[in-house]
């Protein structure tokens, strides 16, 4: 009943959207699936990614399409409802016969849709930074793995320039991404000689809105004689009240910096950043990057969305990279056939808006640069540190003993996402 109501409500509200989509399925079109929540709690982040894909499709068609065919986006709304992701993915692959799907944000939505992609041999491009510990034959991960975001951020804070931090608060929302990331970080910190009593781990429920006690605890933890930093994997809506409480209780970035892995330009647009200057975020891209590729990306986005105030962010850039790599791979393979495209994907290079050349590796993850940005008054980030070269993503973390043994490599002889020894298998389904 609940499901029915939700669907009914969404159907009414979504009528405009659905009617806007052409339904005629001509043979001379290539269909692309977009699997992002347009309603419910995750709509706040995912709607922008849907727009990004539509912008890229629009652009591709203006340039004459792909392989001489028009490209058509099929947009579905999984409504922030995890089981619905699997259902909608099945619909896209089995009914609409899409060549590729761009979608998912939360790890739980990817994990529920994954079996469908593997069963029907679909292709998913996943554009969000995540906890790693996964490599599927049917997924290309264009967001950061922990060694491309969490670990470098912590290393930066440990450096002299980053403030010589000795004491750590790992604060996160209570679900799989923060828990796995914190597990990796804890192991990493201990390997660097940080004592257990200098690590405080704190989890809060989704949508936590009252941060008084936790911020007071952080203040107390920080007054123990060692430079302290907060590593935040707090997700989504909980961030605004968290940062407001930080600002009001006078937690200053220069004393106790907060480095966040889920707060980007889009999230800052909803916060008054006057009192947050100096707090940090780690990503592979910031809108403030100065490169010709980024200028073109921002210009294209503003022209498409018809609003010069809309910001770009890291998951958008990851979508942008993924889409361009997919079109390159299709052109190289000469077909949209999933097996052919998958093979062509490995080794694809693309000059990304970050100013670096992103490369798709055989573990289905990218090589990307890591950047640390500092929040500014205008809601943008100043890049205070970045890697000299792109870093290759580890699908399996070196810092979790049971993962360190695993290899993800989809080329011969491995042909496996989580093996301890090569399978010498072939690519066949």
């Amino acid at each position: 009943m609940r499901q029915w109501l939700k669907t009914a409500g969404l159907a009414i509200a979504g009528l405009g959207l659905v009617s806007a989509l052409p339904t005629a399925a001509a043979e001379d079109t290539i269909k692309i699936g977009v699997l992002h929540s347009l309603s419910g709690t995750m709509a706040i982040s995912e709607t922008t990614l849907k727009d990004t894909v539509l912008m890229l499709v629009d652009d591709l068609n203006k340039k004459g399409g792909l392989l001489g065919k028009k490209v058509e986006a099929v947009v579905v709304d999984p409504a922030s409802d995890w089981p619905l992701f699997a259902e909608k993915a099945r619909e896209l692959i089995a009914r609409d016969h899409v060549a590729v799907v761009f979608g998912c944000w939360t790890s739980v939505s990817r994990k529920t849709a994954l079996p469908v992609f593997e069963e029907l041999n679909g292709l998913l491009f996943y554009p969000v930074q995540y906890e790693g510990e996964e490599s599927s034959r049917n997924v290309f991960y264009t967001g950061a793995a922990p060694n491309q975001q969490a670990i470098p951020a912590v290393e930066y804070l440990m450096s002299k320039e980053g403030g010589d931090v000795k004491r750590w608060v790992l604060a996160g929302t209570d679900y799989v991404y923060p828990q796995t990331t914190n597990k990796i970080l804890e192991a990493f910190l201990k390997s660097k000689g940080v004592a257990s009593e200098d690590i405080m781990i704190n989890y809060t429920p989704f949508g936590q809105s009252d941060w008084q006690t936790i911020v007071a605890d952080i203040k107390k933890f920080a007054s123990a004689g060692k430079k302290t930093a907060v590593v935040s994997t707090i997700n989504g809506d909980a961030n605004v009240p968290f940062y407001k409480e930080l600002a009001n209780q006078g937690v200053k970035a220069k004393d106790t910096p907060v480095v966040a892995f889920s707060v980007g330009e889009e999230e800052l647009a909803g916060i008054d950043t006057k009192n947050l200057v100096g707090h940090l975020a780690a990503w592979n891209y910031f809108e403030s990057v100065k490169s010709p590729e980024n200028a073109a990306f921002i210009k294209q986005w503003h022209a498409y969305i018809k609003d010069n105030k809309r910001v770009t962010n890291d998951p958008m850039e990851a979508t942008y990279i993924g889409f361009h790599m997919w079109t390159q791979a299709v052109l190289q393979a000469g077909t949209t056939d999933v097996d052919a495209v998958r093979q062509a994907m490995i080794g694809q290079k693309f000059k990304a808006p970050s100013g670096f050349e992103a490369v798709m590796n055989s573990n289905h993850h990218l090589s990307k640069p890591v950047m640390i940005g500092e929040i500014q008054q205008d809601g943008q980030f100043d890049i205070v540190w970045q890697t000299k070269a792109p870093i290759k993503a580890d699908a399996w973390s070196k810092f979790i003993p049971e993962s360190a043994k695993l290899t993800a490599d989809w080329t011969f002889p491995w042909v496996c996402g989580n093996c301890t020894e090569p399978k010498y298998g072939s690519y066949e389904h």
């Binding site: 009943m1 109501l5 009914a8 409500g9 969404l10 009414i12 509200a13 347009l38 309603s39 709509a43 706040i44 982040s45 709607t47 922008t48 002299k160 320039e161 980053g162 403030g163 209570d174 704190n202 989890y203 809060t204 429920p205 949508g207 936590q208 809105s209 009252d210 008084q212 006690t213 936790i214 007071a216 203040k219 107390k220 920080a222 007054s223 123990a224 004689g225 060692k226 809506d237 961030n239 605004v240 009240p241 407001k244 600002a247 009001n248 209780q249 220069k254 004393d255 889009e266 999230e267 909803g270 916060i271 008054d272 009192n275 100096g278 500092e374 500014q376 008054q377 100043d382 205070v384």
Partner: protein, 542 residues
Amino acid sequence: MGAMSTDPAAMRVVTALRAVLLLLLLALVPLAAWAADLDETLAALASGGFEEREQAVATLGASGDPRAVAILQALNDGTLLVTEDKHIVIGKDATYLDALTGNAVETSAEPERIRVNNRLRNEIEAALAQLNLFSPDPAQRLAAASAVLHAPDPAGAPVLEQALAAEKNAAVADALRLALAATSLQSGDVAAKLKAIHTLSGSSDPEIRRLLGEVADTADAPQIKAAAAEALRAIARRNFIIEIGANIFQGVSLGSVLLLAAIGLAITFGVMGVINMAHGEMIMLGAYATYVVQEAFRAWLPASWFDLYLIAAVPVGFLTAALVGAAIERGIIRFLYGRPLETLLATWGISLMLQQAVRSIFGAPNKEVSNPAWMTGGFDLAGGFTVTWNRVVIIGFSLAVFGLLTLVLRRTSLGLHIRAVTQNRRMAAVVGIPTGRVDMLTFALGSGIAGIAGVALSQISNVSPNLGTIYIIDSFMVVVFGGVGNLAGTLAGAMGLGIANKLLEPFAGAVLGKILVLVGIILFIQFRPRGLFALKGRAVES
């Protein structure tokens, strides 16, 4: 000056004059050299890496030059810029002033901001503190003295002593004494260190706790280690009471948020008996009304009025939510009275539609609602317990709303009608009360109060289409726990839940704390199904 004269007497005068001039010049040389130094320092600030910038900031701090204060302040605020031709300027309302001379500078391209990082910000603060120790403004002196605590430097001790000797203001003198003690903690002999620890142990400043912690960890002399540890224990003992007080304040503050969120529901659900799942969306509408009012103030009214936008938003939020509430009641709910299940489903459908409507109009991302200056920040009460202004305002505001609503229900004819209709609808109709109209007004009142709650919650929460879903469950919990149909119960329920939550949180953590409170409520409802304050009488039986 008569150099053409050949008169020997005149010649002597000229020679003397020359000597004087030369002396004057000699006196000027250091100044000129210093000016060149400042130029160089500034250049290092603009072109060097973070290391060079740190050096430059330290040089500026030690210079004692009054211009350095403005430069450092600008660097800290991000208004120190460098033009294309490496000229360093301070940006002020779209004009650029030379950092040294203060003259206006014309540039073709927009100058670039000189970047700072957190490490540099600490250096800037220390440098400014050095410069501001002798400022005529006591507030600046106090800030400077407190800033020394962040990075006490033994080399600064003589300056601090000088400042202390000249200080007339008692508060500033106290801060200077602490700062001095902090510096002698870094150097000095064992006796001086022990004395310093004794001085510091009287303060509850978290910064001092940090310093003492550092000493307790790293000092080489065992007696110093022990003294620091003892001082820390004394501070912890003092702070224990403060911490409990802080927990209770935070509980009251959470309770006031719950009260605000639930009080509208206490009318629509508690008094009217409508299971209103769209209640959260009324809160959201109030928050969006606040956003619209804020944007209107930004667009059409002078900046000095901006801080008043929140006050203007209260009636707007009330009216918006009340009108939508009235429309919902007349359009849908009135056909469903007496059918709670259908009402539940219908209002839930309405809530989804309202969410999606707002998403279509305003877009999915959060909207920024800024806190007015009088609701930003807080003050340190004691021992690192910060009372934040927005919480204080919200506690007062929720109690005021509660008081007003009680007055409306008890002292106005509308209140009389509402009570009459809810207690005995048929009898009320018989004596000529337009029950349909009263239903509409009651629902509008409840929704409007939820709108007001939205205005307040926009200050601590995010303004997004999902705002309502965060508060709906808590609201029902408060109303059921407090006793359906009883405003006083709602107040007691909200405060009770708030304080229980905050007292549990430090021990159990946020996740487990919430679960424990939920379990507690379930058990409580088992034994007292009608909540804390159960209504008695015929209305209950029907």
